[in-house]
Symmetry: C2
Subunit: 304 residues, 2 copies
């Protein structure tokens, strides 16, 4: 078992700022409900040159996920200190990262079911990003896959946890395996009634340029049961400041094919331009799609 360049900080009520642990060593008992039941929440964020990006938005979403799950998490300041501790310890152990890009993962499980008192197990892990940078980013192919739920499920059945980022990601992983087995790179989930949702680990963005040159950036609406995208939100803010119009679903899957360009947005990879969906090209004008992608990359890379 090797954990190359991985730094682990366990949050611990007795140790402000968290306790550094050996990342290659076992850290969780088999009775931890994170593994026993996928019962916990997480966030993954990007750190560049030792500084976390949009940490506030990620902590907001972690807290929102925990509320939906009835999980009582440590104070926000504890997480902030643990992230700082993790990034500092990582730099001390491994030096500055080539390219300076680290993935920081915040995890909270419901805790050890066999303990006398079950309380959340929480940690921060820091590792180099293995995802392509802007320079290495290639356009991707996706499959549109049925998420099984209709677009009303999230509102009528909160126990489905559709707005929470839980550790129960087996379906997300299975959808990605299905796509890869069929020669595609990624997935865009669609409701059973045909509405665009999100990727298994990303948010869907689409752009349309009107005849008068007006650019509109579009994303599916949240209440269909998608995770609120922190990268999507940051890019929307920057796009608005740059004069774009903003649009929110509900969106039929046809909207994807009518867009001039589309992307999957996420915190560490930032952007991946969707070239084809179910084998059909997105965007009638490849040069326009490239220009829009350059604009979005400028925004994505300027997120702080």
């Amino acid at each position: 078992m090797t954990s190359p360049r991985l730094t682990l900080i366990m949050l611990d009520p007795e140790t402000p700022g968290g306790r550094r642990a050996d990342a290659a060593a076992p850290a969780l008992p088999v009775t931890d409900l994170g593994v026993a039941r996928g019962d916990g929440v997480f966030e993954t964020l990007l750190a560049v040159d030792g500084r976390p990006r949009k940490l506030g938005a990620h902590l907001d979403r972690l807290a929102a996920s925990a509320r939906v799950m009835d999980l009582d998490l440590p104070e926000r300041a504890e997480w902030e200190r643990a992230v700082e501790h993790g990034l500092r310890a990582h730099a001390e152990s491994f030096g500055a990262e080539p390219g300076g890009r680290l993935a920081v993962r915040l995890v909270a499980t419901r805790g050890d079911d066999a303990a006398a008192e079950t309380r959340p197990t929480c940690w921060v892990q820091v590792a180099p990003s293995t995802l392509p940078t802007r320079e290495a980013s290639e356009p991707i192919s996706v499959l549109l896959l049925d998420r099984g739920y209709d677009s009303g499920a999230a509102e009528r059945a909160p126990w489905l946890l559709l707005g929470a980022k839980t550790l129960s990601y087996a379906v997300n992983m299975a959808a990605l395996r299905h796509a890869k087995k069929h020669g595609a790179d990624d997935v865009v989930f669609v409701t059973s009634d045909g509405k665009l949702l999100e990727g298994p680990t990303s948010t869907l963005l689409m752009a349309r340029v009107a005849e008068d040159g007006t650019k509109t950036l579009i994303t599916p609406e949240r209440r269909t049961g998608i995770l609120p995208g922190t990268t999507q939100a940051a890019i929307f803010e920057l796009a608005k400041a740059a004069g774009w119009e903003l649009g929110y679903g509900p969106l039929e899957s046809g909207a994807l094919f009518e867009s001039d360009a589309a992307w999957l947005a996420s915190s560490v990879r930032l952007l991946a331009r969707i070239e084809t969906a179910d084998g059909r090209p997105i965007g009638a004008d490849p040069a326009l799609a490239e220009r829009l992608t350059d604009e979005l990359w400028e925004m994505a890379e300027s997120i702080t």
Copy 2:
């Protein structure tokens, strides 16, 4: 951290029969995909007087879950040896269990994502059953909760893993919390198009007695996306031998209220009679419901 009377056997290619590990000590790195993504499969079975019940059916279902998940598990004989090892070690450490009832959990995760070569992490854990025995079993109240999926989702979208028993159980746990918050004991999931499914950790059984005395035992059909119940299958076999008719869904939720008795069946608890669903009583004749429950308990306790 205490793990009272818990025995842990890690499956290990180098140690036939598995390697005993300290159940109270950390056993998994945070990068294990079981905790990082709820990416794995499991089974829980009952052992009575040191002998596992219907181990073959559980190993069949574990293998079926693994196939759906593209997980390459150790040989069946390895699991059998590890279960035997676990039960023997547990008896040696803790003596015979009062009442003789143990819950045996078999788990396989996709393995450590940070390892040079990712291969499944597999273990067997043995602990006293904390669930009520027949004598202590009280009738329960359930809520009918929407599972979000329609009854065709399982067949058209295999990536939803609806027939696999995965570690991604956060929704099952959230549904149980929702029920308890609303004063109920358990849950029966229903499809978005109103078909009866299963409990979060159990299979739904219903009985009807015709005017001529013919008894029919009924369970929702598998292809609506439920887990094939090992206890349900074993009881169905015994019921058939005892002259019952057998019936399979699709079933509207109305069928629950028209039954003479209904139960949640599972491997360790065996049976829990459903007294009310959404506050409405099940079975017009309480004495008949009790008699049917006694008959089913006889069958459930004779499963080997």
